[in-house]
Symmetry: C2
Subunit: 334 residues, 2 copies
Amino acid sequence: MPEVQVRDVARHAGVSPGTVSNALNHPEKVSPTTRDKILAAIEELGFVPNIAARQLRRGTNESIGMIVLDIANPFFTSVAQGVEATLAEVGRPLVLAHSGQSHEREQAYLDLFAEQRLSGVLVTPAGQVLDRLRRLRDRGTAIVVVDRKTGAREFSSVSVDDTLGGRLATQHLLDVGRRRIAFVGGPERLSQIKHRLGAARQCVEEHGSGEIVHLDAASLDVEAGRAGGLQLLEMPAARRPDAVFAANDLVALGVLQTLTLAGVRVPDDIALVGYDDIEFAAAAAIPLTSVRQPATEMGVAATGRLLDVISDPGAAVEHIVLSPQLVVRRSTGG
Amino acid sequence: MPEVQVRDVARHAGVSPGTVSNALNHPEKVSPTTRDKILAAIEELGFVPNIAARQLRRGTNESIGMIVLDIANPFFTSVAQGVEATLAEVGRPLVLAHSGQSHEREQAYLDLFAEQRLSGVLVTPAGQVLDRLRRLRDRGTAIVVVDRKTGAREFSSVSVDDTLGGRLATQHLLDVGRRRIAFVGGPERLSQIKHRLGAARQCVEEHGSGEIVHLDAASLDVEAGRAGGLQLLEMPAARRPDAVFAANDLVALGVLQTLTLAGVRVPDDIALVGYDDIEFAAAAAIPLTSVRQPATEMGVAATGRLLDVISDPGAAVEHIVLSPQLVVRRSTGG
DNA sequence: GGGACCGCTTAAATCGTTTCAATATGAGCG
DNA sequence: CGCTCATATTGAAACGATTTAAGCGGTCCC
């Protein structure tokens, strides 16, 4: 219980507390011999500075926070890895939090980050958190939105062009001769969904033939895909779509699982395109054609931007939009 | 920059700082009318308590830290979800850190946790960190080791019986008539690997026929699996194993990918068993037979144990060992 | 009517570190 | 030898919250 503190180290090394602090934080101000004595004392006593006291005095917290939307989705863990790698370079710790799409948990973590006075936060908003983000920013925390653009566009963001992605997927399906395309995934209030689905619809329209059937879903996981697959199976064979555009790869894998289990042939009966190109897409029962998002790159870009904003809080808001890329595999006959 | 603090709230509400603090932390000590005034002032000024000051004064940090070994492996994210769910019930924040198998990063995060005076830490050690864990514990941080048992066994742990798992996998392969079994994965210094491989060897020995070929690997990811697959392909057909026991599902998926790409039939030519039974195992090109580990349950158990140790630091060291379970699918002819 | 007691509020001390002005030490130089 | 200047070190104040003992009115009861 009796915590070893600078005072103890100072006494042990025969110097004053101020010098111990300097040895740790401004080594150039301390003579080498004194420094060695102090470091030896620290080692011997097992002193570990109390970060709360340091932060209180300094008024800043070095750490960066990141709120991950869905830790079970490899897409987001890839983003996180890009963030980590970039932060490791500048020696700043990353604290991860997982909202799991829950608005409450997202709010709770944002509040926690606010109390902690973090210097920067990366967030993929799950709910209406504009007010909280504003308050965070007003208190001096840099904010960059990842994989989204907030409505008001008042925060810098890094995202991937979902309209282009939706177009790539749809055009490809049309190119391989499909006409009745089911879009599996939701909810539509997610900008992701809205844009991908919107692009699909527009693409079909421009093409002059074909149609989009939206099979909505409450979430974007494998289970939702299975449910979507069942919906497909329940349709009379005549009206059944000949292609599926899944909102992401998890959904696609769920759809695939249900379809193959029921004996529907992919891609012969139904072609299938996923989104994200997670590592497991290539290893699926039928390797998935997918729209690849540069996830790691997005993490890197967002972190770079965040560090910029931290060092220059007045930096202009900037929206970086990366481009997705179609990866053709067997599930569309590739 | 001018931070809103209790002093300001107090002035605004016409009370003293102490009363503001009480309103927040000991509401029963404050009259309802005063409390309402204070809450209104807090709301109006947008006051957010400085957690560093609170923690400094209180001497404790509510948060729990968790060091995840490999965030890209769904197995570990499942564990994390179990942890999260349990902590959410008691309202403690979880800060995640990702060691990515790196000893240095693991140390760095443990040091950070020590500086933060967290009340508890869950860790799956990647390197030699016994000394750091001891220091953490000695300073009052509760520690539970997840998915490992530390050498000295001086920390409570929750793990899954790897010997049983190795036995289940191997026995199954023998049961379906395979004799030359390649164990793909490494390094062997990982207790996981050691036990699974050891059990496989022993199982073969007891069975009286068959053999284990160890294809070592430096890591346990899909890429390592691909490399293992290539090694298999390079073997002369006559000496090529008729079964693969992969150290985990990621490796198994890599092996599967390489083999199917090269036209080797699974399970006909080579049967394949994975480990962990991650969600993607069932959705693989050939659905994977796998040894299921109760990942979420492990997270829940570890967290429960941790909370026990926090509330009673003198609690006895306890090693909880959960049992794995074989899930048979197509990759072994199921 | 006086004392005990009760509930609420206050003021000041405190947590452990960093910072800063002030002081001490020592070197260099005429 | 005395002075200046640079470097090294000190000691006390400060960071923003919580806690604690003390204070203040008011009520209750004999």
